[in-house]
Symmetry: C2
Subunit: 176 residues, 2 copies
Amino acid sequence: MLRSTTCAARLAVSRGCGSTGRRWLGQSAVLKQAPSKVPPALWKLGNLNHVAIATPDLEKSTALYRDVFGAEVSAVEALPDHGVYTVFVKLGNTKLELLHPLGNNSPIQNFLDKNKNGGMHHICIEVNDIRAAMSDLTAQNIRCLSKEPKIGAHGKPVVFLHPKDCAGVLVELEQV
Amino acid sequence: MLRSTTCAARLAVSRGCGSTGRRWLGQSAVLKQAPSKVPPALWKLGNLNHVAIATPDLEKSTALYRDVFGAEVSAVEALPDHGVYTVFVKLGNTKLELLHPLGNNSPIQNFLDKNKNGGMHHICIEVNDIRAAMSDLTAQNIRCLSKEPKIGAHGKPVVFLHPKDCAGVLVELEQV
């Protein structure tokens, strides 16, 4: 999905690419005055990679999706560097990621302490350029939870965004 | 995505289609003894239709996805029969559904009372036959939150499943 023309145009103006010197313009003004000066978006959102579900009982949750819902599920994978066991549930267009704590400092233990039955922990959305995204989001007061991208559970650069800046949702961006 | 062979075979046996008289068999036994008697699955999961996010500030959350993340968003729609305002955020392969309470008896008000910043409220997964799904799930002790499918926000039959039976997640099934 491309960043909308409106937004790209606004970014162009706010970054000094416009011709009027005004920092903010209405959509119609931007489109009329600088249609040929709109640069491509610096980064863009893509697919929803997965919805992560933290669970206190990985075997039971895996059985639910495999045996009751009839979904295809992966084998359990231990990711000690990330403090979790994972099982992926394949849906038609995306995945659910079942998470269970591994070790004493699992990043999902606190969530499970507060949500005894488990629940949705985060969503992961793909981006094409994670450093551009981090720079742009930071400039727009969206807090990244690390200064640099980290290598995520899938071996790709990821960053988490502060849930209080994202409508109460912990959002992971993953570069694909 | 098709229900797995294992599960379909198990269903066949549990419903009396097998030839052994035993209610439960291991996978290898089922596959060896009745490969030609396995019926197609009675229902199947499909795509993740949307992830619903309840928000106390619909304008701010819409602006986040539209202006900061650069996503395409729908107009606000008031659904008084469902007690919510909705905005859809288009991702590459699915949607986010931003929800905000409408009226005094909104079904998401309780969630927002407990989650002041908002958060993920439910996931909606598509099925091909909602009545078959409800019958099968009920038989497997997954509680449906209504006895009959209701007409959901998109004009299609939906049912919600009890989060305590679904790994702590409120799951909506929508027939497509």
